[in-house]
Symmetry: C2
Subunit: 509 residues, 2 copies
């Protein structure tokens, strides 16, 4: 059999009564943990942003089996400080400028504490009415802040038949939002063309669409050869071209294939490109394609009137997802999905086992969110976002977005002021894409890429700043993403000084 | 366009500086929340277990839009108490005996606080080495507690090539575990039979397999007509029959179809049936079928030697999932998945966008968990389970399982002592399946079902206990699931007294 490990029964010392939720212990330990966390936040700048450990560092320092007897909280917290923290890349550090930062706030932390504490499972309305109803309220609130059309909201709901309205739901990640809508679109299409024709379904995106899109399509049974990721170029700032999309679709139709779904992006991962929704919706509508908008990052900015135009045309798409964990201070993981026709989701995703049957569900007077998602169980997730929206108000959230954008513009200005560097695409949100300037370096592409790589590696190796890179249009660029919650002007300025220092050393070689 | 909602810009009062993570505010508010939660736990028995509100109760009492200006924590907590709590079904109530309870503990709460607070995103090793490595350690620890064979563990890992070992990963839910393994199996099969033959793939389970299985199969592009849910019966205690599985598979092969995947269950939702793994593995192995074991509920009991035999044969399956949020005190959501060939998961689920490329990943010396799951982002989820295992030790966790089983047996004894009731299947874990006894009632099946329904409805309408029902083999039964963390003997006894009182009133009519 190859069984391993100890028998866990060889110790016969008395252990006393076991109360996993003793209320006085809960209270005192949780207070202790609050202070531990507040101290971590206080000291966060003292840690290297990017962890400098080697693979295997932790496994080799921990026991190979769980303890048979309890250990004290003090011992565990000591291990967290000595063994875990050194191996963390500190996403909340104000010097974290990598990927897109994952933003946080006191209000969201409190909301998450509550969600955990209640531990109610809202797979259907009856299993926890408040969990379902608060989620509907919060998704409508955020929809209104984004000025989404009513067709995405529950607000017109009547409790005779909730299935006739649009509405929103919280998913864990954009990946789940895409899979759920894709499968809804797929099953609608298969009803028309027949399940035996699944191999004819074709989906569209651009080469800048998030990598999870391809994975989601493959998960849903779309043939890899039927996933079209259309090339973009610097002349459109890496946005998807409506005319190229049209040509691609028409070629597929001519080949006897069935165009199914297109994923458009508001704020791509590499460069925050924005696909032109209105024009692309024109193209897709002509072919009855399900249009999804992935606004994971850029969508949050659209709560400010000056950014809302990026969602122009949204009334013509089928679904929209947005990740408040990226830019609305909400901790991971939190993805909002709005759909115009939840009934299509429900059709594709509903289950109705006897052990979950109940009168409210059968009266069609309630929303059962299990039928809007991949899994069955679900937490009381809306509390977190509800606390953020109420504790800060729309006004402060707008201030927060604008502050990040202002800092990014400041960084862009610093880069532009140094002729050794160039900006690759105009800074639209809070990401700055730049590199060492070829016209200054006067070198071939390979050497230019090598120098940029070296500069980035050096900056990250200091542990004082963490930035990441990408390659677009064949060009290696550095990404400076402003937005960690604790970042202030001084951190941005210090990061720039560090980058300049690296360039000084590198270009003297 | 149909835009709605306020403009959110009509208020021009000064708001002051906005600091979403002010450390002193964080500390004081989080302490306040700890006390709020501890008080909720203290008062939990005073609330009706099953919420008695009507659909729409909350939506109609909340504003239609988010506030423009901040609201105080006091106002929000007051709303939680007055508006949210009354609409909750209290899963943590000691009088919650519905579904399977979702268990909790102080240690898991602390672990979740830490996970939230760190907010590090461990999509690949470098993005947070400690998050990846601790997860590997914790999954190995739990594997050893379950006496899983080494083929499911990282323990044999060498850091030259990690891809050659088995290992575990944390998923959100069983649904995700099933989808990931199913897609790994699917893609392996399609390599052999060709992607154009996806419609020939057939999957197997029983009519007791969790409802999410069918959904997962449909999501992965398995034709609904190719999902075989084999009937079970009371004479095998609702376990899947190896001989019937063999006949079903052979018929499909004879029809030119390709058997792909079978989901076996250790502890079904309706009655905690256990499929006989060894014998079923014999059948499946003959046809090269991927064997998954869903031990969401029953698996946790197998940390006790006296229950371990339910996993006999586990060395011959391909993957195993288990939900510590069900019975290992871990809060939602937490599902462990172990696989023998992670490389097949990675092949099906990997993404490699430029913006995530890094040296450790390219050296193949590390695990990148994004390639073991549906989405990209992931939290530092192992902290919660790590704190549970260390804070309590294996000994206390075994005590906890045994205590729940003991209370269920006690309830079973009470039911058996009353000739008006009957036990439907022997109580194996901590779920008791029972009903009003037909041989006492001397009525037809319809009236017997009606009386049982009425009894359950009455019990739940009191708000003093919450139980659920199921139908197996055409028979309506009540499920009494012991296991809410705060439940003590006295709650079980009181629930039985209430049920008897209901029966008294009902049978006098």
């Amino acid at each position: 059999m190859g069984n391993v490990g100890p028998t866990f029964t060889d110790c016969s010392l008395p252990l006393g009564e076991f109360k996993p939720l003793d209320l006085e212990e809960f209270r005192s330990h949780a207070h202790q943990m609050v202070d531990f966390i507040a101290d971590y936040y206080k000291n966060i700048e003292s840690y290297p942003v990017l962890s400098q450990v080697q693979p295997g560092y932790l496994r080799s320092s921990l026991p190979r089996t769980a303890p048979y007897r309890p250990e004290s909280l003090e011992t565990i917290l000591d291990d967290i400080n000595k063994r875990v923290v050194p191996g963390m890349t500190h996403w909340l550090s104000p010097n974290f400028f990598a990927f897109f930062p994952a933003t946080v706030s006191t209000a969201a932390f409190l909301g998450e504490m509550l969600c955990t504490a209640f531990n109610c499972v809202g797979f259907n309305w009856l299993a926890s009415p408040a969990a379902t109803e608060l989620e509907m309220v919060v998704l409508d609130w955020l929809a209104a802040m984004l000025k989404l059309p009513k067709s995405f909201m529950f607000s017109g709901i009547n409790y005779i038949c909730v299935q006739r309205t649009g509405g929103g739901v919280l998913q864990g990640t954009t990946s789940e939002a895409i899979i759920c809508t894709l499968v809804a679109a797929r099953d609608r299409a298969l009803e028309i063309i027949g399940v035996e024709n699944m191999s004819k379904l074709v989906v569209y995106g651009s080469d800048q669409t998030h990598s999870t899109y391809t994975k989601a399509c493959k998960l849903a049974g779309i043939l890899p050869g039927n996933i079209r990721l259309i090339n973009t170029a610097v002349d459109t700032n890496f946005a998807l071209s409506p005319s190229v999309l049209r040509r691609t679709i028409e070629a597929d139709v001519a080949d006897g294939l069935t165009p199914l779904y297109v994923c458009l992006t508001v704020g791509t991962t590499s460069t925050t490109a924005v696909d032109p929704l209105s024009q692309l919706a024109d193209v897709a509508a002509d072919h009855g394609i399900w249009i999804h908008v992935d606004a994971a990052y850029g969508g949050s900015a659209c709560i400010c009137p000056e950014f809302r135009h990026y969602l122009d045309g949204i009334e013509r798409v089928d679904s929209l997802s947005l990740g408040p964990h990226k830019w609305l201070l909400s901790y991971l993981d939190c993805c909002c999905l709005w759909v115009k026709s939840p009934s299509l989701l429900v059709k594709a995703l509903s289950t109705n086992p006897e052990y979950l049957r109940n009168k409210p569900s059968e009266s069609y007077s309630v929303v059962d969110y299990k039928d809007w998602q991949i899994g069955t169980g679900r937490r009381f997730k809306s509390l977190r976002l509800w606390l953020v929206l109420r504790s800060y108000g729309v006004a402060n959230l707008q201030t927060h977005i604008r502050s990040d954008v202002r800092m990014a513009k400041m960084f862009e200005g610093l880069v532009r002021s140094d002729r050794r560097f160039e900006i690759i695409v105009p800074t639209r949100f809070s990401l700055v894409c730049f590199r060492l300037n070829p016209s200054f370096l006067r070198s071939g592409p390979k050497r230019i890429e090598l120098l940029n790589r070296k500069l980035l590696d050096w900056v990250n190796s200091t542990g004082r700043v963490y930035m990441t890179h990408t390659i677009v249009g064949g060009v290696y660029i550095m990404r400076f993403a402003v937005g960690a919650t604790l970042t202030e002007d001084r951190h941005v300025v210090a990061a720039w000084e560090l980058i300049k220092k690296g360039a000084d050393a590198l270009l003297k070689l």
